[in-house]
């Protein structure tokens, strides 16, 4: 299923592209990434801890980067397997970068997510919602990393490292903390 999210970061296109191509840096912004290790030039091994409601899955696999279209388009393909359920997840994340006149860059992302096996039973609604939360969280973090965020997303998510679909109350609390630590603007409170 396709999850489309567009967001803007306060950095020029070249810098954004460099960020996206820097897997360790970019990976640190993906909620739930564990054990990221380089395997060869464009390939990294990683484990992704994903929580969808009460279900927790650890997808162990790899990520491959396609820098051929940089700095206009960056594509990352990831696939991994969750041992507990025997499910496999495949994600193709493509980002089209569009430079705005004012030194900011719009990132139009499309994530093509396929989950096969037992977790595929869980329903596209839940999977899409989880994927969307993860992209939003990534967007938030990428924005912070690249110098201030004005996301088009309306619901900024948790800081990286906690890949859960976190509750609203907890969410606002965490967002406030994050904002206070980094003294950066964040979208006003409210749901």
């Amino acid at each position: 299923m396709l999850v489309e999210e567009t967001f803007t970061v306060a950095a020029p296109k070249a810098e954004v592209a460099r960020f996206l191509l820097d897997v360790p840096r970019m990976g640190a912004c993906v909620p739930g990434v564990e054990d990221l290790q380089r395997v060869d030039e464009d390939r990294y091994a990683a484990t992704l801890l994903v929580r969808m409601g009460p279900i927790q899955a650890r997808f162990k696999g790899d990520v491959t980067l396609d820098a051929g279209g940089a700095p206009d388009t960056i594509v990352a393909t990831a696939s991994g397997r969750d041992a507990t359920t025997g499910s496999v997840a495949q994600v193709t994340f493509s980002a089209d970068l569009v430079e705005n006149g004012d030194g900011s860059t719009e990132i139009r992302s499309v994530s093509d997510v396929t989950i096969r096996g037992r977790l595929g039973q869980f329903g596209s609604g839940v999977v899409t919602s989880t994927a969307r939360e993860m992209v939003k969280s990534f967007a938030q973090c990428a924005g912070q990393e690249l110098g201030g965020v004005t996301p088009d997303t309306d619901q900024p998510s948790s800081p990286p490292g906690a890949a859960s679909v976190i509750g609203r109350g907890l969410l606002s609390w965490l967002r406030d903390i994050w904002a206070r630590i980094f003294h950066r603007g964040s979208r006003g409170g409210g749901k």
Binding site: P54, I55, G86, R118, F122, G125, V126, S164, I166, R168
Partner: protein, 280 residues
């Protein structure tokens, strides 16, 4: 091997749960939990059985509220004389959960904590300003049911927190109705659920409230649309416009029970029917 713990009191239960938020799970009726375990979707390391804890399954009433223990089964709630008399729409909703076997075992607390969007009681509870009473490692707190579910199968409960009871205000001159629509067999979870409640001042509606559930990720309170509706008699046109507006405003889910298009259509129909039922 799964560890099965039977805590002596709530404090112990909360402590065990808080110990491993993801591996330790509460088991109450077990209808949702065991199903997910059987399907191989979750693999808890510890099950915390709260079945022996005293005082969590009663239903009581005072002048202002009815309090339902979190371990009360749907069937107990549906057949409770107090609930049937004072909160008939809640009795109705609980009486339509799943099938009779599920209702005999599944509990209200479990239903709320699971936060499955395709459920009946939460839609009604949100509309009735119900409050969840929660106990956790750091003590007790209350939160409105409307603030409990935050997304698919996600709640704002913190680590180690357990819902102990739900209380619902009573005493106002109110007429309420719950409309449940299943698109497939009678045991299917709801495709759309709509709760309507009208608070009366004499023969005039003072406040009308509509909640849409099951068609959306969390129950959608539609005060923003119904807030201005009041008066002696609701005209057909008013009701239809409101139903159409609500149908447009929701963000419906697509699943095996129905597409987004279909859910919008059915929502409009159910809103109209529910509101008609509460208009005297």
């Amino acid at each position: 091997m799964i560890r099965f713990v039977e805590p002596r009191d709530l404090q112990e239960a909360c402590a065990v749960l808080a110990d491993d938020e993801w591996g330790n799970k509460v088991i109450s009726g077990g209808t949702a939990l065991v199903l997910m375990m059987a399907q191989g979707l979750i693999a808890p390391s510890t099950l915390v059985n709260i079945g022996r804890l005293q005082g969590m399954d009663g239903i009581s009433r005072d002048d202002a509220r009815i309090t339902i223990g979190a371990r009360a089964t749907h069937r107990a709630i549906a057949t409770s004389p107090e609930v049937m008399q004072w909160l008939p729409a809640l009795a109705d909703a609980c009486g339509r959960v799943g099938n009779v076997r599920v209702r005999n075992v599944g509990t209200l607390g479990g239903n709320l904590a699971e936060a499955d969007y395709a459920a009946d009681p939460p839609t009604v509870l949100v509309g009735l300003d119900a409050v969840c009473h929660v106990t956790g490692p750091h003590g007790a707190r209350d939160l409105p049911v409307a603030d409990l579910a935050t997304g698919f199968y996600s709640t704002s409960l913190g680590p180690g927190e357990i819902i102990t009871a739900v209380s619902v205000p009573i005493g106002e001159d109110r007429v309420s109705a719950y409309e449940k629509f299943v698109s497939r067999s009678s045991e299917d979870r709801p495709c759309v659920g709509v709760f309507a409640t009208a608070r009366y001042d004499g023969s005039s509606i003072e406040k009308l409230r509509v909640v849409v559930g099951a068609a959306v990720a969390v129950p959608r309170l539609c005060d923003d649309i119904t807030g201005s509706v009041a008066g002696d008699a609701l005209e057909d046109a008013t009701i239809r416009n409101m139903a159409a507006a609500i149908s447009e405003a929701i963000d419906p889910i697509e699943d095996a029970r129905g597409s987004a298009w279909y859910r919008r259509k059915v929502t409009a129909v159910l809103v109209r029917r529910a509101v008609e039922r509460v208009s005297r």
